[in-house]
């Protein structure tokens, strides 16, 4: 023990403790990203990007050897889906034209929704099993800010930026237990809170609470409500899988399947700015 005290071991332990306390204080007092974490993230960002690029290259090689039969089956299913979507598109075009004529008739202004998007690659996934987060390779230098929504290529909400450095940002996904978003059921207009849940996170699901009443069906789409103006409205969160009652037997909530493929996502889009005109 004497040797430990005299040989600087306790100094090293004190320095480590001081650094840890500094991290805690910085995280508690600063609403943004603490400078130490930001600096370390900036240093490691190129390493993460490099290792993620190597990982993607290896995955692309492995994917070439995937089962041919499985690809053929998927191809057939996708061709059928394309045909159905083309049919729906033709109907939508007809409806859109009718909508335009009716708006002109009633003198209504066209509702516009503009997003400023920043494409970013996923460079790291959550290291802890107790949270669901992704690290992307874009940061404040590209206009990314804490609170920005992140979506995938299909327009489905993946999460919200909770930390941002110069060249990186951390996205807390919709599955994380701390995630909470204003949501609306597309079919019924019913509003609620879509939140992550520790038990459901391991099943790749999230929950929808504070339902006002009414019948939800399996497959009902749930979108962001946009109430408060913090997040854009209309971003697809997921679809209803089933209705459950909580452990107290009082409150009913819906289990949602997230539409964004969070585990398999490699490229996401950060909504750095949005405007909605009605």
């Amino acid at each position: 023990m004497k040797r430990f005290l005299t040989r600087g071991g306790v100094i090293f332990l004190c320095v480590s403790t001081a650094a840890a306390v500094l991290l805690c204080v910085a995280a508690a007092t600063d609403s943004g990203t603490d400078p130490v974490h930001s600096a370390f993230g900036g240093i490691t960002a190129p390493l993460r990007a490099g290792s993620a690029a190597v990982g993607r290259w290896v995955e692309s090689i492995a994917a070439r050897f995937a089962a041919v039969e499985e690809l053929q089956a998927r191809n057939e299913a996708l061709e059928q889906k394309v045909a159905e979507l083309e049919k729906a598109l033709r109907q939508a075009q007809t409806d859109s034209e009718e909508n335009r004529r009716l708006r002109e008739l009633l003198g209504l202004r066209r509702q516009r929704r503009d997003f400023s998007l920043e494409a970013a690659f996923v460079t790291a996934r959550s290291g802890s099993n107790w949270a669901s987060a992704l690290t992307l390779d874009k940061g404040t230098a590209c206009g990314v800010a804490i609170g920005n929504c992140v979506m995938d290529s299909r327009g489905a909400l993946a999460g919200v930026v909770t930390e941002a450095g110069q060249t990186w940002c951390t996205v807390t996904t919709v599955l994380d237990p701390s995630s909470e978003l204003g949501a609306k059921v597309f079919r019924t207009g019913e509003t609620g809170i879509a939140s992550g849940n520790l038990r459901l996170m391991t099943e790749n699901r999230l929950s929808l609470h504070f339902l006002e009443g009414g019948a939800l069906k399996s497959g009902d789409l749930v979108i962001t409500s946009g109430l408060g103006g913090y997040y854009p409205a209309g971003l697809l969160i997921g679809s209803v899988e089933e209705l459950r009652t909580d452990d107290g037997g009082v409150e009913q909530y819906a289990v949602l399947i997230p539409r964004a493929d969070i585990d398999g996502a490699t490229e996401l889009f950060i909504i750095t700015a949005f405007s909605v005109e009605k």
Binding site: M1, L13, V36, N129, W130, R199
Partner: protein, 181 residues
């Protein structure tokens, strides 16, 4: 001579730390089973804690925990610093020091390290909402079951460092070369 060995040993352990974190990032974070992925860092902490002296393993665990907090933040800002220091403290206090543990004992202490590492998370979730405690315990159990087999590669990675630089050193820190001289 002994001091040189100590310095080189610490350098090599320090070099192994980012290798483990990169392996965790590249291979394990995306490999989930039952919605959970295996965790390497607590196993490395346990391995070093049973092989090295108490004071040295405490410092190493604190430093590694700080590195993990910066690389992959946990539930709270100093999560890994706290949990790894706690792990090293308990293993240092409870693990027998007379003989150098082999793979089996390292695996047992690795399982203990995983349990201790999950404890702060369970407590945090219990404070937020008591109803999540059963789910938290299930998640901790899944993480333990999936991670324990990875003690083997961690042991294989760190064993050469121990054999090369701890040869002739007892766990009390006394060099056998010095006592036999």
């Amino acid at each position: 001579m002994a001091q040189g060995r100590v310095v080189y040993r610490r350098l090599f352990y320090a070099a192994a730390a980012p290798v483990l974190l990169m392996a965790q990032d590249l291979f394990l974070n995306g490999s989930t089973l039952w919605g959970v992925h295996p965790m390497l860092p607590p196993l490395a902490v346990a391995t070093v804690a049973v092989w090295q002296r108490r004071q040295e393993s405490l410092c190493a665990s604190a430093a590694f925990g700080l590195l993990c907090d910066l690389w992959m933040p946990g539930l709270i800002p100093c999560y890994f610093f706290l949990s790894f220091t706690l792990t090293a403290f308990f293993i240092g206090a409870l693990a027998p020091r007379r003989t150098a543990p082999g793979l089996f004992r390292v695996t047992l202490w690795g399982a203990a390290a995983l349990a201790i590492n999950s404890l702060p998370a369970v407590l945090i979730f219990a404070c937020r909402d008591r109803g999540t405690v059963p789910a938290a315990l299930v998640l901790a159990g899944k993480e333990l079951i999936l991670s324990v087999p990875l003690t083997v590669p961690v042991y294989v990675l760190l064993l050469p460092i121990r054999r090369r630089f701890d040869r002739g050193m007892s766990l009390s820190g006394v060099s056998h070369e010095a006592t036999s001289a």
